[in-house]
Symmetry: C2
Subunit: 470 residues, 2 copies
């Protein structure tokens, strides 16, 4: 990359991160020449590009300053206000459409929430796969019956110690990804016709699973930063016979919201008193942007009513399809359901991941991954702010790698996603995150990929499409 481009990228990031704030001076050209060992022409070229993007502006005889708009964070999306009646769920067709788009890798990947493969430790993992094959020999072909590979269960329990309480290996079961964990949890505690309270918006595959199982979704208003509104939940519990609650307190997909610990504690207490099981999706929990790994709601569970679900699909090895569920008092029933659903999970991936975790490299990898994802999310926020229409609200994720965008009402994201598809850009339109078809003017952006000019261009295109009459 040319040096002026590097300098441009570095300072765009600094501005996005708030390291320099609106109105503050940029380093002088002379100072930058010294720092970067570069010519004034190079620095001026970088600054000109930053100015072109509206991030900085020149003041005559005074140098460059961060422009007022640049550091200004866009407004957050509003707290959701879904209908207060349970709905039967029908989002399947839209999701299949998006996934089909993302099979074609030539589309710009803003739709499905996959981490870029270059962020994952493919080399050490492939060595562990090869080694596991050699070590297991013939046993690589054998079933590993539920609860799964004991070494892997031990490593997962050990990993969970970082958030304090930790999981009990004897209550934990290996699944084929987090989605199987969640659906087994749902099937363990609810039946067709039952009402399940969920966040609004919520991850579409959950909605689809409920759709197929004939369960009714009760969408609870959800704050874009603090998660599910517990007062609203309490009201709903009085009005409806809620059979279970399913949510992601740590970085809801798509919001990136983080429920404060005090709320988690209240949630678990509230549900516990009513004897309502909580199915907790913690798949993004390790991807926190703050200092500390947030606790899951499971850490506040004293009654065994929390069914904790997670996986390695967003952080380490999507292709392995290895997740886990720690089912509290529902563990025996979940074990039975696993046997009925897929019987066992693949043998070699379990052994390879156990060996990789054993080395301790996972925690180091996560530290690097979190820095990268936080950076990518910030770039996406900035670009969305630059290119999306006036009045667009953007979430402030505190972890994970999805961004939630609330456009002005006139912009219909189902139509927008179709238009973007024609331009080779994959998007996840808002309504697929709602059982009741809400969020017609919202959009989820996946920030799984390192920031490039290519992504900037895609955002610009989406912004332009917003102005085109559907």
């Amino acid at each position: 990359m040319y040096l002026y481009r590097e300098i441009e990228a570095e300072w765009a990031a600094n501005i996005a991160k708030g390291l320099v704030r609106p109105g503050e001076a940029m380093p002088s050209v002379r100072e930058m020449c010294r720092r970067k060992q570069a010519s004034p022409a190079t620095i001026l070229a970088a600054y000109a590009r930053l100015e072109g993007k509206g991030l900085i502006q020149a003041k005559p005889r005074s140098g460059y300053y961060v422009s007022a708009k640049a550091g200004h964070l866009p407004e957050e999306p509003r707290i959701s206000s879904p209908s207060s009646a349970p709905t039967s769920v029908q989002v399947g067709d839209w999701v299949m459409r998006m996934l089909r788009r993302d099979i074609h890798r030539d589309q710009t990947p803003l739709g499905a929430a996959f981490p870029a493969l270059e962020l994952l430790p493919s080399l050490p993992l492939s060595r562990h796969y090869a080694k596991a094959g050699r070590v297991l020999g013939r046993e690589a072909l054998a079933y590993v019956l539920p609860p799964g590979n004991p070494d892997l269960l031990r490593q997962i329990a050990r990993h969970s110690w970082q958030w304090g309480a930790g999981l009990l290996p004897e209550e934990t079961l290996i699944t084929s990804g987090c989605l199987e964990a969640l659906t087994l949890g749902l099937r363990a505690v609810a039946r067709a016709g039952d009402i399940v309270a969920i966040e609004s918006p919520t991850y579409f595959a959950i909605l689809q699973a409920m759709e197929n199982l004939g369960m009714r979704a009760l969408e609870i208003p959800t704050h874009p930063r603090k998660g599910m509104d517990l007062d609203a939940l309490a009201t709903a519990m009085k009005k409806h016979s809620i059979r279970a609650c399913l949510l992601a307190p740590n970085f809801n997909n798509p919001l990136g919201s983080l429920m404060p610990d005090s709320h988690k504690s209240r949630l678990v207490h509230m549900l516990g008193k009513a004897g309502i099981p909580l199915i907790e999706d913690d798949i993004y929990g390790d991807l926190h942007f703050g200092e500390k790994r947030p606790k899951p709601a499971k850490a506040f569970d004293r009654k065994g009513l929390v069914i904790y679900c997670a996986s390695f699909s967003k952080t380490l090895d999507p292709g392995a399809r290895i997740g886990w569920v720690s089912g509290g008092k529902f563990h025996p029933q979940i074990m039975r359901l696993k046997v009925m659903n897929t019987l066992v999970s693949a043998t070699l991936p379990q052994a390879a991941l156990a060996a990789y975790l054993e080395t301790g490299a996972y925690e180091k990898h996560l530290r690097r991954l979190r820095v990268a994802l936080k950076d990518q999310v910030q770039h996406m926020v900035m670009a969305a702010q630059r290119h999306f229409p006036e009045g667009t609200r953007i979430s402030r994720p505190q972890g994970g790698f999805t961004l939630w965008v609330e456009f002005p009402q006139r912009i219909q994201t189902l139509a927008l996603a179709e238009a973007a598809e024609r331009e080779g850009i994959s998007l996840a339109p808002g309504p697929i995150f709602s059982a009741g078809g809400h969020f017609r003017h919202c959009l989820r952006l996946s920030c799984g990929h390192p920031w490039t000019a290519y992504l900037e261009e895609a955002l610009r295109t989406v912004g332009k499409l917003c102005h085109t009459p559907g």
Copy 2:
């Protein structure tokens, strides 16, 4: 192994296979000395052991003859006569118990139907796993979205050509084992409360899946050699509103029954006329003891109403958890259900199996495997006949590797399985193969392991336990 033991095993097998029949003379001791380059003492030792087992008997001054009882096949089990009302299903606890037993490999493995690992091509497979890891590199970590790895889909379609019509790759989807294929099929065509017609006995995991999904099982009388009784099915169709039919025309587990082609054709026609989908379990279809690979019912399907399910778990690589479903007109719905259930199946196993199949080694492997399994089944039949009580009926499987035993009514196999467990022997008691708790005096024996004195001893123990008052 000592030579006299080898000779004993060889002739026990010859008798089992009917190569020498009751009343026929065994080769003379002198002849055998010549053939085997052995001493008369060795031959006499082998013959003495065969005599001890009641397989041959000495006639004074005339030599040895195959004894009358030896070649006498036991009676087959009766055609089942389950209750004609749909039942809700509850077999989960028993199955978990059996699987837990089989986790402990120190138990003699007559319970769960796994093929012995030594019968599977572990060495070439492990080379293909390692190679796939190298070839894929970083891509080994990526999701392979439904329908799955295209090379594997192509190989599966190619493999299916051997039975004539073959599967359409564009209607086929990779699943996490055959069980996921079957449960997705069930969920695609039936809901809670619906009636599904099944064979009686039928594979317990199917019953469990139906139990959890709240579907009602209608057990149809099933012939131990010809499969489901189609007249009984026709009667049931008049009486009940049947939503779907699920069966294994090729080698039902546990019966090993093989539905004749004319019956398959009639079955598909009958159901097609009524618009009832058929979910076909063909997991054992490649393990035929006869010359030709039997056609599945799918081969007779003209309306796209047959949902064909199979996997590599019984024939090649159980640990890979790779199956497939070819859903006819239900394919789009099954694709959606896959996305809701486990999203995708593990990446590396799909690539490794595709590469292995590409070499053509699978067909060669299957030829060897079929010979081994047929031999193991015959040994098990013989041993059961030797050790089980008078009046025991034994199935004559035409493929697969499970044997169905019908004891005299007084023998309760749930109690028998518990007693055997205490003796270190894992058994699958009859009632877990029935929604209505039938088959209390029946037992499934897995013949997945090469015949050894160890298995002979286990059968002897089970036989003794039959005589112990519960």
